[in-house]
């Protein structure tokens, strides 16, 4: 590995800018309470926009070629697509958080700063090309998330969520790191291209060491995407964390974990394709079945959404499993659609939520169509999309994933996916039934406390429907953002 040239640092401009913006927000947040809250949120949103522009103008023209910074940092279409998803998800999370944090009376500066630091970690994950830099970026995101999950420290459930998330997250990071260390022991490298080049020889000489190494690595990654049987932390954390943070975990963290999962499997572990496909297939099937069946039995909407997010991780794994170009762009398309759908759903939950975690059960949605036709209609769109019913982005997302699996010969896994989508109809439509067919105890209209939040919900709904009517442009974009395949 040669010396690093100064121009390579210029290419890091978006990530460096975002980290600095996080520190600025931290400083501004400590100035004064009333003024600081809105200001910090605004600064965070503006800096995310600047980072997006920097990604396009600085990293956009540099797409292709070798990984820079001693093989650590890859700038390719794949990384840029994910960075787009992360920036959009964080921006929407900030909009979702504004009222929530203000009403809770919790300090705003640290909250937004931690969101920005987590996003910095996610950007580094998307471009990470060395297991060590991927791991530390993942930790940066995870540590910020643990703190955010426990941010409402006067609430017991928030404390519980943070502690459980931290302990299980630390355990999974340890497993991940142990797997990486075994792979390093067997091959002498943690850089993804070198790893792929040396794996066949290492496999022949030390098959068991390599197998244990990549299995532990995969288990650590499954933990982070919340796939069964490594999902036990998810429901408690999703229910206990402040709802905007839950949305961030369900969208941002999950997407970032998938970004590195796919890159590591496709580029680092490419020589082990046959082996990891079996493991991914098994995990995908168990995840879809357990996630959906457990979601059926829930009475708390946030808990149901937690299991639903587990089930959706299973669907995405179907696309990962295919290991074809079709599978890869289907994963990218699905994660984009899923991000908007899930953020919209959680935004609606936030609007209906009141203090002390009220408004979270199915019964609280009774008669919503009469109390607030707008929110009910929006929730209907999101529930249709999560089930995968046209005309929504969720429908095409699932079609592409299942089609990719069938084409690459994994028909039975796709069949399980279709069957389980049918099961999911039951619990998603359960909310719709409550909203439209049950009467509420009091019929007073639910006010819309925040126009900004309502606007964000509307935006998510419009994009969800647009993706279901005109998926073409995004599909083309995803097709232009592929990885080299194993």
């Amino acid at each position: 590995m040669g010396a690093i040239e100064p121009r390579e640092f210029l290419l890091l401009a978006p990530e460096i800018f975002l980290a600095v913006a996080g520190m600025v927000v931290l400083a501004v947040g400590s100035i004064g309470r009333g003024l600081a809250h809105r200001t910090t949120a605004l600064i965070s949103l503006v800096s995310l926009a600047v980072v997006g522009a920097l990604v396009l103008t600085v990293q956009g023209p540099a797409v292709g070629g070798e990984a820079i910074l001693a093989g650590m940092f890859m700038i390719d279409g794949y990384a840029l697509f994910w960075k787009g998803i992360f920036l959009l998800a964080t921006a929407l999370t900030i909009v979702l958080s504004m009222r929530f944090v203000e009403e809770g009376g919790y300090p705003a500066g640290e909250f937004y700063a931690l969101l920005l630091f987590a996003t910095t970690g996610m950007l580094f994950m998307a471009s990470g090309f060395n297991l060590l830099s991927i791991w530390i970026s993942l930790e940066l995101m995870a540590l910020s998330s643990y703190i955010l999950a426990g941010y409402f420290k006067r609430e017991r459930r928030s404390n519980e969520a943070a502690l459980k998330y931290f302990i299980l997250g630390a355990l999974s990071s340890g497993i991940l790191l142990y797997g990486i260390s075994l792979l390093y022991g067997a091959t002498g490298t943690v850089q993804l291209t070198e790893l792929a080049a040396r794996l066949p020889a290492a496999m022949a000489a030390e098959g068991m060491l390599v197998s244990l190494g990549w299995l532990l690595l995969a288990i650590g990654l499954f933990f982070k995407v919340a796939a069964v049987p490594f999902h036990v932390w998810t429901p408690d954390v999703y229910v206990g964390a402040p709802t905007p943070v839950t949305a961030f975990l369900a969208v941002g963290s999950k997407a970032a974990a998938f970004a590195i999962l796919v890159r590591i499997l496709y580029q680092g572990l490419a020589p082990l394709l046959v082996e990891w496909q079996i493991v991914v297939a098994a995990v995908a099937v168990v995840t879809m079945i357990w996630g959906n069946l457990a979601a059926v039995t829930q009475s708390n909407v946030k808990r149901m959404l937690a299991y639903s997010s587990i089930a959706h991780a299973g669907y995405v794994l179907i696309g990962v499993l295919a290991a074809t170009e079709d599978g890869l762009w289907a994963v990218l398309f699905y994660m984009l659609a899923y991000s908007f759908i899930t953020l919209g759903t959680f935004a609606t939950v936030i609007l209906l939520e009141r203090r002390e975690y009220a408004g979270e059960t199915y019964a609280d949605y009774a008669g919503l169509a009469r109390r607030s036709p707008f929110l009910a209609a929006m929730m209907l769109i999101f529930m249709l999309a999560l089930t995968g019913i046209p005309p929504t982005g969720g429908f095409f997302g699932k079609v592409y994933l299942f089609a990719a699996a069938v084409q690459s010969g994994w028909t039975w896994v796709a069949v399980v996916g279709v069957l389980m989508s049918a099961v999911s109809l039951y619990y998603y439509m359960g909310i719709v039934v409550y909203m439209y067919l049950r009467d509420a105890e009091d019929d007073t209209p639910t006010p819309l406390p925040s126009r900004l939040l309502a606007g964000a919900i509307g935006l998510c709904a419009v994009i969800t429907v647009l993706l279901g009517i005109l998926p073409g442009p995004i599909v083309e974009l995803a097709k232009a953002s592929l990885l080299q395949l194993p």
């Binding site: 690093i4 001693a70 650590m72 290492a202």
Partner: protein, 177 residues
């Protein structure tokens, strides 16, 4: 004597490796937090000795100074400041203990199985990786510096943001609001 000369390094390795493991088990099983902290210190020192055996003198010293020194002192301060007596009575695992034991035993068995079947000759550890830079023999601190500030510069910088987040988190969650 002959035996000691030939296998002295191996013997020392096993002494310190077993010491580190035993101390690590002590950290999580002892009931008195102060004993746990001392166990942790023993663990750190054994790891430092392992670094020395690999000719990583700089890392060994950093391990002693930073972990054995600075971080241990912080641990001891916290233990003395915070009242931890109630910890002694509470049971951590509860009803999940049997399952946890089964899973832990399985995992350890799996790892042992792999390592007992592991052919040490097949995997060539890079000789003198801790004391060479591009083929030239240098001191350990120089080798660490080259690795840390050139090859692994990016993770090093990300780690600095990570530490900032850890600090912010400790303040946010710890202060009275």
């Amino acid at each position: 004597m002959e035996f000691l000369v030939q296998h002295g390094a191996d013997l020392l390795f096993y002494v310190f490796a077993v010491g580190a493991l035993a101390a690590a088990v002590g950290v999580i099983t002892l009931r008195n937090p102060m004993y746990c902290a001392i166990s942790l210190l023993v663990c750190f020192l054994c790891v430092a000795a392992l670094f020395l055996l690999r000719h990583a003198e700089f890392l060994a010293l950093v391990q002693v100074f930073v972990y054995g020194g600075g971080i241990m002192v912080l641990f001891l301060f916290v233990i003395m400041l915070v009242n931890l007596h109630r910890l002694r009575e509470s049971s951590v695992f509860g009803e999940y203990a049997p399952m946890a034991v089964v899973l832990a035993v399985l995992l350890v068995a799996l790892v042992l199985f792999v390592f007992l079947n592991y052919d040490q000759q097949a995997v060539a550890a890079a000789p003198g990786a801790f004391v060479s830079v591009e083929g030239q023999v240098v001191g350990n601190s120089e080798a660490v510096a080259w690795t840390l500030y050139r090859d692994y510069l990016l993770p090093f910088e990300i780690a600095s943001v990570f530490l900032l987040v850890a600090m912010v988190g400790a303040v946010v969650l710890g202060r009275k609001s």
